[in-house]
């Protein structure tokens, strides 16, 4: 069935001209991209999402470079925007969760927040119109970076055994339940944490993109010189409303990703007890 709908979607049939034409529901093939070009030597096939992630990385670097290239006591316009962006992550996330001891990790959090946000925002940009983070590899890679950072910070702070104890030992529990709880705490903190961090971002962006695509296709498919025009209009309005909603989600998911990074770092830095 899905193979058939894909076929129909590529043929762009419309039920007005072909009554047997089924609704070409968008599916996961929406997220698959053929390589645009191959980098010779390392044989890297570059797809559209990869190219967009590079552009996002470049934009983040260029923005902060332009803002802080010539720092002044009385900031210029660009520096002012850069300071606001930096201050938002520093005061809104890092100071809030980590306090002053988190200040060394603010550059990491600023980078994560703006890189993730820009990649999410790509869903909006004409010609791009695809949230890069809806490909699982991008959130998974970033979650791996976060995992490596908080694990190494924890091991440095508490020592190998000490940090394992912080990760695995639930306090305030009678002794005999420990047999069940310690493996669970270990498994939850070491394996499930980075997994959920990546899945949450990926699934939100994936679902949002699919929803907008579905209503956009429906607006086209239902358009006909009869009552269908009304349904088409409703679909179009919903597509626009959902696009606005996605704008919120894109920022929110970038924020949550960064805030949870700060929470995991707080866990790695907390006092032994």
């Amino acid at each position: 069935m899905s193979g058939q709908t894909v076929l129909l979607a590529t043929e762009s049939c419309h039920f007005e001209t072909e009554p047997s034409c089924a609704f070409p529901a968008p599916d996961a093939s929406l997220f698959e991209w053929a390589p645009l070009f191959t980098i010779p030597g390392i044989n890297l096939e570059v797809t559209k999402p990869i190219l967009m992630s590079w552009i996002c990385a470049f934009l983040v670097i260029a923005f902060f470079w332009a803002a802080f290239r010539h720092p002044r006591i009385v900031p210029g316009r660009m520096q002012l925007v850069g300071e606001m962006a930096y201050g938002f992550v520093k005061d809104g996330i890092s100071r809030e969760i980590l306090g002053k001891k988190g200040d060394r990790y603010v550059p990491l959090m600023v980078t994560l927040f703006f890189f993730v946000w820009f990649m999410n925002l790509m869903a909006f940009i004409p010609l791009a119109q695809f949230p890069v983070t809806s490909r699982i590899a991008f959130p998974a890679g970033l979650a791996l970076v976060v995992w490596v950072v908080y694990m190494s910070v924890g091991f440095r702070r508490h020592g190998f055994i000490g940090y394992l104890k912080v990760l695995c030992w639930p306090s305030g529990v009678p002794g005999w339940v420990m047999v069940i709880l310690v493996p669970l705490e270990f498994f939850s903190n070491i394996f499930i944490r980075p997994f959920t961090l990546a899945i949450r971002l990926f699934a939100n962006m994936f679902a949002g993109h699919l929803l907008i695509a579905t209503f956009s296709v429906a607006a086209w498919y239902l358009l006909a010189p009869n009552i269908g025009a009304l349904f088409a209009a409703v679909s179009l309005v919903l597509a626009v409303v959902l696009t606005g909603f996605e704008l919120l989600i894109q920022g929110l998911q970038a924020f949550i990703f960064t805030a949870l990074t700060a929470v995991y770092l707080a866990g790695a830095l907390e006092e032994a007890h």
Partner: protein
């Protein structure tokens, strides 16, 4: 252990952390103990240990969540 906010002024944030850590505990409980039960079932040729493992994991995850809520 670590996700609940230790700082008194981070209460609004730790609420969300707490919610996510409950999700994490439940997933971990079901996957870990359900997986152990499933493996034992395969090994011993039985079929009742996987559901028992899932229930044990669920209960243990809930218990850990309650411990954390009480502490924060």
């Amino acid at each position: 252990m670590s996700e609940s906010g230790r700082r008194p002024d981070s209460n609004d944030r730790s609420g969300a952390d707490l919610a996510w850590s409950i999700v994490s505990y439940e997933i971990a409980g079901i996957v870990l103990y359900g997986g152990i039960g499933w493996g034992l079932d395969h090994w011993l040729g039985t079929s009742f240990l996987a559901p028992i493992g899932v229930i044990v994991g669920l209960v243990a995850g809930l218990y850990l969540s309650f411990v954390r809520i009480n502490r924060s």
